[in-house]
Structures are given as structure tokens and as C-alpha cells.
Symmetry: none
Amino acid sequence: MLTVIRLGRDDAAVLVEGARQAAVDLGIPMSIAVTDESGHLIMFEQMDGAKVSSIATAIDKAFTGAAARKGTHIYNQLCVPGEPTFGIHNTNGGRFSVIGGGLPVVVDDQVVGGIGISSGTAGEDLEVAQAAVNHFMKFHADRG
Amino acid sequence: MLTVIRLGRDDAAVLVEGARQAAVDLGIPMSIAVTDESGHLIMFEQMDGAKVSSIATAIDKAFTGAAARKGTHIYNQLCVPGEPTFGIHNTNGGRFSVIGGGLPVVVDDQVVGGIGISSGTAGEDLEVAQAAVNHFMKFHADRG
Amino acid sequence: MLTVIRLGRDDAAVLVEGARQAAVDLGIPMSIAVTDESGHLIMFEQMDGAKVSSIATAIDKAFTGAAARKGTHIYNQLCVPGEPTFGIHNTNGGRFSVIGGGLPVVVDDQVVGGIGISSGTAGEDLEVAQAAVNHFMKFHADRG
Amino acid sequence: MLTVIRLGRDDAAVLVEGARQAAVDLGIPMSIAVTDESGHLIMFEQMDGAKVSSIATAIDKAFTGAAARKGTHIYNQLCVPGEPTFGIHNTNGGRFSVIGGGLPVVVDDQVVGGIGISSGTAGEDLEVAQAAVNHFMKFHADRG
């Protein structure tokens, strides 16, 4: 038997709070998705004004961050024609995101979930995702 | 009528065993999939710690190795924009993998199945897939 | 943070072994699938002679046993037109199985995975799935 | 290793010929599909005037006849709400047909392929599929 730690509801709420604050600071309403370590959605928030097409994208980014355990922006650089990992964006029923803004959430060297942000540029989405993770890590550290 | 030879359950187990050993040697837990010559899944094993996103990828690589009868790394080099084969990764409902780690299994010059490995880099995945095929060929030769 | 226990590779192998023995006793080659508690495939075996159409069905039954935490035969009786749960077979992209032969695997009152069996009648599939779970529980109890 | 016999191109042509003759006799232009024993399409003919929506249906019926090894009309009677096999029409990505007109093709007690007919009523489709199989079996017997 394996023992796994994963984000719970309250952890997800901290991540969403961190993402929302960063999105407000940036002035871009975002789609915000959080998954557990298996890639299943555990929290989602569509900020007023976020794009409809970003709902699915944010969920896919969070899935990829958790399930593939790397930032989606890293896969963006790997998924270039002629490079060995090209085509990975087609896997998992097309849900594997290679657009920046998806990150794994790591606690004690274990991936415990994923966060995905969408509605801005890939760079803005990544900035907000990273801010959410930083907010979560600080909260987590403060609680010991 | 056509007569076809294909991997059975025991053959698949030898391939999975060979892949597992190579993955352990490499220190990377892998998703391991084996299909028959028609591309249908006949055995799958998720090593403890392999990536969730690699489950579907390994199955697709094995499908492609069997069904297209080439290593998926070969298609990787063919599937480049501007080249005649670009777009093949979109075929078969997106299941056609162009990421290294999928190989046909060939006996007596006939493709009898496919193996697909995922969780490492494309190069590591190919290395483990090739080790599995070598293990199977040695086992097959030893049995006469 | 949540702590979760789930089936690992060796646990899945015990379930597959139990299923295979029961299938041999029954004289029906079966498709055998095991998922972790999140519904992700961790082991699959196609016994020689099992049906091609049972590959996906077994995987879906195991997914449902784990993810919905009930035997698929229970949903069969609930998924009748006019009853409140009718339509559940269409959910999760059609992967929610309401055909007997899928069971949750429960340890210490927690669902730790799912098993799905297909190729016989729904009753035969359930019989084999239950035998696999019994085999696993005995193995688990013996190990303390 | 397993040895399998399956329909080849010339066998499929005999099945299509038998189906076409029966369809002409019945006065209904039909979609005619033949798969190998793994459920993969090996021949298809759209008679002039056959329905567009029957192309996919005929292919799915042939897939089911081969892959599930029973006539699709038999599954029609099993796939009734409250019965244990209800829901099977949702499996295999919705490709599992429970509408009469799909049959396995059996030689020497082995399923070697499937045939699927569509554009008439389920009863007419089954009649044409059965005529095709009869034509094939007679042809096969004559050739010894």
C-alpha cells in the first residue's frame, strides 16, 4: 500500500486566494483551477470577466501540473517540432497543456496537487500561478 | 483467410518484466504498456511513482508501435511542420504517438505487438522499451 | 492536507492474481483491470481469449468502483429510467459503468482502489471481481 | 505466442458481395462494413442512396460483432434498463452497438471478423447481415 499526501479543500482555498490577489494586482480577471495530486479538480473559480475559453484551459493546466509534475511552460519549450517531446500536447485526450500557467504544488518533495491559471498571456498566467504557489507555501510554512 | 501471430498474456508478462528491470536499473518508475499486433492493450503496469499523465501516453505509444509498425521516435523526426508526415500525431483520435518510447515487437519478420514506456525523457523511455524488447527476444530465442 | 492510502503495484498484482485464478476456475478468460483510489489504471491483464470489447469495459468498471465507491451492479439497479439516478451511465465521458463486475477495494474503511472484470455475463464478472477482492483481503490480513 | 485466423481482403469482398445482393433483393441501399477479428475496419461500401448516418453505425455494428462476438440484436435484448447488461451501449467510446445488423463471422469455431449493415430497420439490417454471412459460409465451404 502507498501513502500519499494531497491538497484538501482548505489548501485549495489558500491557493485560489493567492491567485485571486495576484490577478487583481495584475488587473486581469482569471480562471483559477486547483487539482489534487491525481489531477482531479478540487476547486475552481471564474473571476468576473475571465474568458469562457479559459475555463477548460485552466483545468487542463492544473491537471498537467499535477499529473506530469512539471510547469506547463517547461513542456512548452520541450514540445517543439523536431524535439523529442513534440506531440505531448495531444496526449491524455488533448488535456495535456503546454501553455504556461500550470504548476505542480510540492510539499516535502512530493507533488500534492496542481494549479492552473488562464485568461492572460502565458507569461501573465504563469506569474499568477507562481504567486498562488508562493502564497500557499508561505501559509503552509507559517502553520508549521 | 489470413493467419496472424500475436503476443499472448505470457509474452506480455516477459516484456513487462524486462521493462521493469530496465526502469529499476535507470532509477525511474515507469508506466509500461503492451498491446497485441492490432494495437489492443493486453498488459499494463504502473510502477509505484510513475506519472499519472504517463498512463495514457504509454498505452498510446504501444498502440502506435504495433499499429504503425515503427518506433515512435522515428515518427518524431518525420512529424515536423513542412515535412510530408506532419500531422500524423493528430490521427487515430490523437492516439498516434510521436514521442520516443514506443516500439513494435517483431518475431519472424512479423509485428506481433507493441510496447510503450513513459515517465522519463523520450530518450529514457526508448531505452527502457528497447531493453524490454531485447529481454523478450532473448527469452524467445532461449525457448527455441 | 489530506493523507490517503492507495493500492500500489504489488497490491494490484495480488488482485490480478486472484481474478485470474477465479476466471480459470470459471473457465472464462477475462479482461482484468485495477485502478488506484483516484480511478487511474495501475494494472491490466487481458487473459488469452478475453474479448476485445472487454478491455475498455473492464477499465471503466474499475474506474467506477474506485471513483464512485460502489459496486457497478448496485448502480445497475439505480440506473433505470424514471429512477432518480438514471443517466449516470452517461457521466464522466461515458466511462461510468453500470454493468456488474466493478468493485471498490476497501482497506480500513477507506476506498484504496477499484477492480473491474469483463468478458462473461455481468454476474460472472462480479463473481470474479469479488473473488479477487477476497483473495486480496486474505493476503492483506495474512501480512498483518 | 497466439495464432489467430482472420478475414483477409478477398474474404471481406465475398461478405460485401453477399450483403449487396441481399440489399438489392430487399430494395434498400445499405451501408456495409466488414472488420477483422480485432474489430478494425477492412472493407466498407456505401451503396448509392444509403444514409449518411449509417456509415458510422455500420462500422460500429461490425466492430461489435467481432469484438464482442455476439450479434448486436442479442445485446439489444440484454441492454434493457433493469437488466444486468444495461449500459453496454455506452462502452468503448459509444462504439458498442446494440442495434440489430451486426454479426460475428465465425470459421472453425473462431471469430474471424464482423459484419455490420445499416440503413434499413434493425430487422432488415440483420436480414442482410445474415445473408452476407450465409453467402460467405457457402463460398468458404465450396472452396473447402
